[in-house]
Point group: C2
Chain length 341, copies 2
DNA sequence: TTGCTTTGTCAAAGCGCTTTGAAATTTCCT
DNA sequence: AGGAAATTTCAAAGCGCTTTGACAAAGCAA
């Protein structure tokens, strides 16, 4: 059933039917009623591809999903997507997800943009100096990035959390508890958030005349395995760190396994603060020793970004172009005074 | 840059350029070279919506993502999606994800199908008697379901794991270890896999003249919280079960927390077997007491389903219409002889 | 040379929708 | 009743692509 058939059935022109459906004023209410009834009876739905071709609007948000045979699936991605979805469903928007090799992200994003399949783009996993930014700006398609990038004016629409402040505050807490030997268990070194978190920690340390040692820093994919490995390495150091900052509860999961295996007590021998993206599976309060965290909901960020994106597409703006969310520092049992030794 | 502009630039007709691009034989090799070079220089990409309109093919797989404000994000969904993506990227396919309220799944699926945005559909979270099946069959669009449904001939394309055998075998193992008091911690009661797993367990028990008691059965969403709650309830029973079958490692996570809190020892006081979807975050060997599991990779299922779906769309078939994967029963430390009491 | 096939190219139709500009109809005022 | 204004409907163009059927050009045999 297409528009032509429907209009023939009704004895109206395609124009009138189309207008009746799209809420244009220049159509008799009685006629509109009739059309709407016919639509309900026949189950007619406009072909989206045709609609897209004619209007240029698709009702969809595009995003690139990093993937590869060896590439481990990322809970953070799923959680964020849930947030996007929660908002999208309210506006009858959908997503076009283009899976792409992480090395191919710029090209994949361009393909997606000029495919004509999407109205707006969402970009995550921002790098320190992200090559996608220049491309996005040149594209004349609405977009929002999650995170930020160094190296250019922040004149693009983003939503980010204040990573620097989060880790600065976390470090301050540990300093106040008397810790002096710090370690950082971070995400991949090229990612923007990792750089900022590191900066936050370093700033807090420097204020006290302390330094973050190279061998007390790990930059890895945020899996529990990597957390375990990194922590095992830290624990073997001559000057064992007593205060750990951890970029994800996922890393913390592995790290804590290592602490337990070494027969050490979390919150006594080792204090740990992790960043909590509020993953339903990894509630910090459910850890055997509840985790002190810096918290910011990834899902909430997804909802907000979808709001902005959809709002822009529907011209319902204006939305603030830049948003920087503060994180909460929530103290639980995984932090305690530095051990005397 | 569109086809018209490109062809004018080359002094060729749109026909020839289109044919050159799509590998048709009736175009001079020299001309094709020239076209390809121009494409590279101009960065021309065909508009997908137009392509879709003209060919009826979109190069995309549609799926419905269940979501709602209260709805907890599901790691299983993300893991499966990663599998789909891994295969899709090889064929330059993408996904159209329609978020929808779980109550609205039939309608959402229909909207997606007739939107003209997708070539094939994927459907998961099969119910015991799934209303979507009839609709899918009437749709004349390729689809594959993950799981199965009762109530009709299995004459539709599916990929499922042998849930019944998995839990039958798991129960047999526990029976051999002398257990007689069983409990089942299952997924939502209306879902097909939950029904089959229960059947498997019940069958094994019945062979020994045992029964699965009502108060030793829990059907819930598969979150760790629900696992905790269910296990707490089991532990308070007068006739405490000693053998637990658990439909997901996520549920097991909460269940084990409850066991620990009760001061009981996993693998001694309580034996537990969980179904393992091979989630990177919840490796059974990383549990404090490594988990005995029935294993089948969700991601691998995603890859396989994408293969079949894309193969069908590209007419590269024939693919087997029905696949039933066996699970592996892997014994670790969470199972042991029934305690003497 | 003529006639026939093969090769390379093109103009035009069509996919299903929206939107423009004009035509037909009704309503209102004098 | 006559004419202007407002309302309702329509035919046709266009979005960017593929594909059909036709047409030159070239190759070959007789």
């Amino acid at each position: 059933m297409n528009l032509k058939q429907l209009s023939e059935l009704l004895g109206l022109s395609q124009t009138t039917v189309s207008r009746a459906l799209n809420g244009y004023p220049e159509v008799n209410e009685a006629t509109r009623e009739r059309v709407l009834r016919a639509v309900k009876e026949t189950g007619y739905r406009p072909n989206k591809a045709a609609q897209r071709l004619a209007t240029g609007k698709a009702g969809s948000i595009g995003l690139v999903m990093p993937t590869a045979p060896g590439h481990q699936s990322d809970v953070h991605f799923g959680e964020f997507l849930t947030g996007l979805g929660e908002e999208a469903v309210r506006h009858d928007f959908h997503f076009v997800i283009m899976p792409a090799d992480p090395d191919d992200e710029v090209a994949a994003l361009r393909r997606l943009a000029i495919s004509g399949n999407v109205d707006a783009l969402f970009v995550a996993y921002m790098r320190g100096h992200d090559p996608r930014l220049a491309m996005l700006k040149s594209l004349s398609m609405p977009f929002v990035v999650h995170g930020r990038s160094f190296g250019s004016e922040p004149d693009y629409p983003y939503l980010d959390i204040d990573n620097e402040a989060a880790f600065y505050d976390a470090a301050r807490l540990l300093l106040q508890l008397g810790h002096t030997r710090f370690a950082l268990m971070n995400g991949p070194a090229h990612l923007d958030f990792a750089i900022r978190r590191r900066n936050g920690l370093v700033a807090a340390l420097n204020e006290r005349g302390l330094e973050l040692k190279e061998d007390c820093t790990s930059h890895t994919v945020m899996s529990d395995e990597e957390g375990l490995i990194a922590m095992e390495r830290f624990l073997q150091l001559a000057e064992r760190p007593t205060a750990i900052l951890c970029s994800s509860t996922v890393l913390a999961l592995g790290a804590i396994r290592a602490v337990n295996q070494a027969g050490l007590k979390l919150g006594e021998d080792i204090s740990l603060i992790a960043h909590d993206d509020v993953l339903p599976l990894l509630k910090p309060e459910n850890f055997s020793v509840p985790l002190t965290t810096t918290r910011s909901s990834l899902r909430a960020a997804g909802v907000r970004i979808a709001q902005r994106l959809i709002g822009t597409v529907k011209q319902a703006g204006p939305f603030p172009e830049q948003e920087l969310w503060k994180t909460e520092l929530i103290v639980r049992a995984s932090t305690g005074p530095a051990p005397q030794s």
